[in-house]
């Protein structure tokens, strides 16, 4: 039993890394545009199916899909951005409806193209078990987690150090002031949106190599990313990362101790508890008092 729990903790941590990438993308586009992209999970979905196509039809490692996924997701993301930008009236409500509609289109497009079957990598190298003391993981899971860590550090560096990263932070905190400082808010928003899409691309490929994907995944991922951001409270990258790990671990423990049917419910319950008890999130205590 103890080994099972340890294994669940470990697997949960590994998938949590990918959840963090998806959640950071959602938070980044929200920070820059004040708009929730309800099609964000579908961007991940597209990337995952790009990996499937490259592996199943191209016969090479799914990691080769990363450039393809980046290209497709960037194009879709840019089109989505331009559509959002066209909205003038009731921007908040209408952009929600718009991105929701785009999510429906993308999910059903994937469904039409690839049917509702569950897909995962067939590369033996990625499915090799790696044993670490009492627990084990597939090689693909380890690589995906490592990739997530590297990307999070890169994102942190980008936001902190690069000109565009600073511009994104400036636009998020005070749009009018940023504009006065000579920052083009539209271009900054687009950059933030594309970076969010890039995170989604990596997350999609990673998910395909470590887990199973199917058309309904996109919607579920958007919800998970949202739960993570609520858990994390006022956003910081480490906060989101910890919240994502918590969600991954909670899900994995639920599957091990109860039933896989309750996996989704575990995240929701966690989410409701935080919403009821800690409205500013697990890591937002300071913001709450202020």
């Amino acid at each position: 039993m103890r080994d099972l729990i340890l294994q669940a903790l470990f697997s949960g941590l590994l998938i949590g890394g990918v959840y963090a990438l998806v959640a950071l993308g959602l938070a980044l586009s929200f920070g820059a545009m004040r708009i929730i992209n309800l099609a964000h999970g579908e961007l991940v979905l597209i990337a995952a199916y790009a990996a499937y196509v490259v592996e199943a039809r191209g016969g090479v490692s799914p990691y080769w899909a990363i450039p393809l996924a980046l290209a497709i997701v960037s194009v879709v993301g840019a089109v989505l951005f331009l559509m959002i930008d066209r909205i003038r009236e009731h921007r908040e409500l209408n952009s929600l409806i718009l991105t929701y509609g785009v999510g429906i289109v993308l999910t059903n497009a994937v469904l039409l193209a690839f049917a509702s079957d569950v897909r995962t990598t067939t590369a033996p190298a990625l499915q090799d078990a790696v044993t670490l003391g009492p627990v084990y993981a597939m090689a693909g899971e380890i690589v995906a987690f490592g990739l997530s860590l590297v990307l999070m550090v890169a994102l942190w560096w980008w936001l902190k150090r690069s000109w565009y990263g600073r511009a994104v932070r400036a636009v998020s905190s005070n749009r009018a002031a940023a504009t006065l400082m000579g920052i083009n808010p539209l271009r900054t928003e687009l950059v933030a949106f594309l970076v969010a899409g890039a995170l989604a691309s990596f997350a999609g490929v990673a998910l395909y190599t470590m887990s199973v994907v199917q058309p309904a995944l996109g919607h579920a991922l958007t919800v998970k990313a949202f739960i993570v951001t609520v858990l994390a409270g006022v956003g910081s990258i480490p906060g989101v990362f910890l919240a994502a790990l918590l969600l991954g671990v909670t899900e994995a423990l639920t599957v091990t101790l109860a039933s896989s049917a309750l996996q989704e419910l575990a995240g929701m319950v966690l989410f409701l508890l935080v919403l009821f008890l800690l409205p500013s999130g697990l890591f937002g205590a300071r913001a709450r008092r202020g």
Binding site: G101, I104, I227, L265
Partner: protein
């Protein structure tokens, strides 16, 4: 410019419902067509409830399937297991859906877009619960031994014409209630909250309470129609009663017809439902929702106020000139 607060479209409303009521007579009332129209009216009721929340509460809900499912299951169980009369269990289904909406109150503290996501997450909980609580709900296998609609004053509501008449009446009643709220000071305050919350609170409006009322009312109407639907079709399973399409279709219908108008969601529901069932499903068996998604995107971009919204705006501009 005149205020966009349109005059109560009483005449238009009456005309629309006369047409709706007479439709089956005009079209020869085939059972198939009546069945489609009955489903379309169920959807119209939910769309009306959705638009009421969106337009007056400023809240976009992606989770009305939760209220629909709760209403259906509650009424079916109360009638089937406790033997309560269906005429009582249907409104009780609505009340329980409203009660379920109370669990969402903490989410009202979240700002607009985050609320929308919260309700999305929330809707999933109910489907999972309905599947898992199998001793009560029959689980994934479903529920089918519960009574249908009764006969009232000689009108057999279980028959298709009877159910159709009942639904036309209820949807009309819903429209009237919606129009009345929209024109009241309550409706004005609600519209003000959506755009300028602090400015509205500072003159004494308890914005959270008002939003909570709208959420509960919207959930009640949705649950009511969910309950009616359960008794009309006589079969429930979690994947059907809590299906995502009960969240998606009302949105598309409302946006298509114009969610800031009273009649828009109703007209939109009839058009969208018939389009989905007759055209889209014929063209694409699996994934037919892609057409609805495209329609939704196109409407938000080209006519965010819906088709009726466009007409109303033109009329309003002329009246204001």
């Amino acid at each position: 410019m005149a205020s966009p607060r349109a005059p109560l479209p009483g005449l238009a409303l009456a005309a629309a419902f006369l047409v709706l009521a007479a439709l089956p007579l005009l079209l020869g009332a085939s059972n198939y067509l009546l069945g489609l129209l009955i489903s379309a009216l169920i959807l119209a009721g939910v769309a009306l409830a959705w638009a009421l929340l969106g337009n007056l509460g400023g809240m976009v809900s992606f989770g009305h399937a939760a209220f629909f499912g709760v209403g259906g299951y509650a009424s079916a169980l109360l009638a089937g297991k406790l033997g309560l009369p269906v005429l009582l269990t249907v409104p009780l289904g609505g009340l329980l859906a409203a009660l379920a909406s109370l669990a969402m109150l903490p989410a009202l503290r979240l700002s607009g877009p985050y609320f929308a996501l919260a309700i999305l997450a929330y809707a999933q909980i109910f489907r999972i619960l309905a599947t898992e609580a199998s001793s009560l709900t029959g689980g994934a296998a479903g529920l089918q031994r519960y009574p249908g609609l009764p006969t009232v004053f000689g009108l057999d509501l279980a028959s298709r014409p009877g159910a159709y008449a009942l639904l036309v009446a209820l949807v009309a009643l819903g429209c009237l209630a919606y129009a009345a709220i929209r024109r009241s000071a309550l409706g004005l305050a609600l519209r003000a909250i959506a755009e300028s919350e602090d400015a509205t609170r500072v003159v004494g409006v308890n914005s959270v309470l008002l939003k909570a009322w709208m959420l509960a009312l919207s959930a009640f109407i949705t649950g009511l129609f969910g309950a009616l639907n359960a008794h009309i079709i006589g079969f429930l399973e979690p994947d059907y009663a809590f299906a995502g399409s009960w969240s998606v279709l009302p949105i598309i219908a409302s946006v298509f017809g114009g969610y800031r108008t009273v009649l828009g969601p109703v007209g939109g529901a009839v058009v969208i439902y018939l389009f989905d069932q007759v055209v889209a499903k014929g063209l694409i068996a699996v994934g037919h929702q892609i057409l609805l998604g495209l329609l939704l995107v196109a409407m938000v971009l080209a006519a965010p106020n819906g088709l009726l919204g466009l007409l109303e705006r033109k009329g309003g501009a002329r009246a204001g000139a």
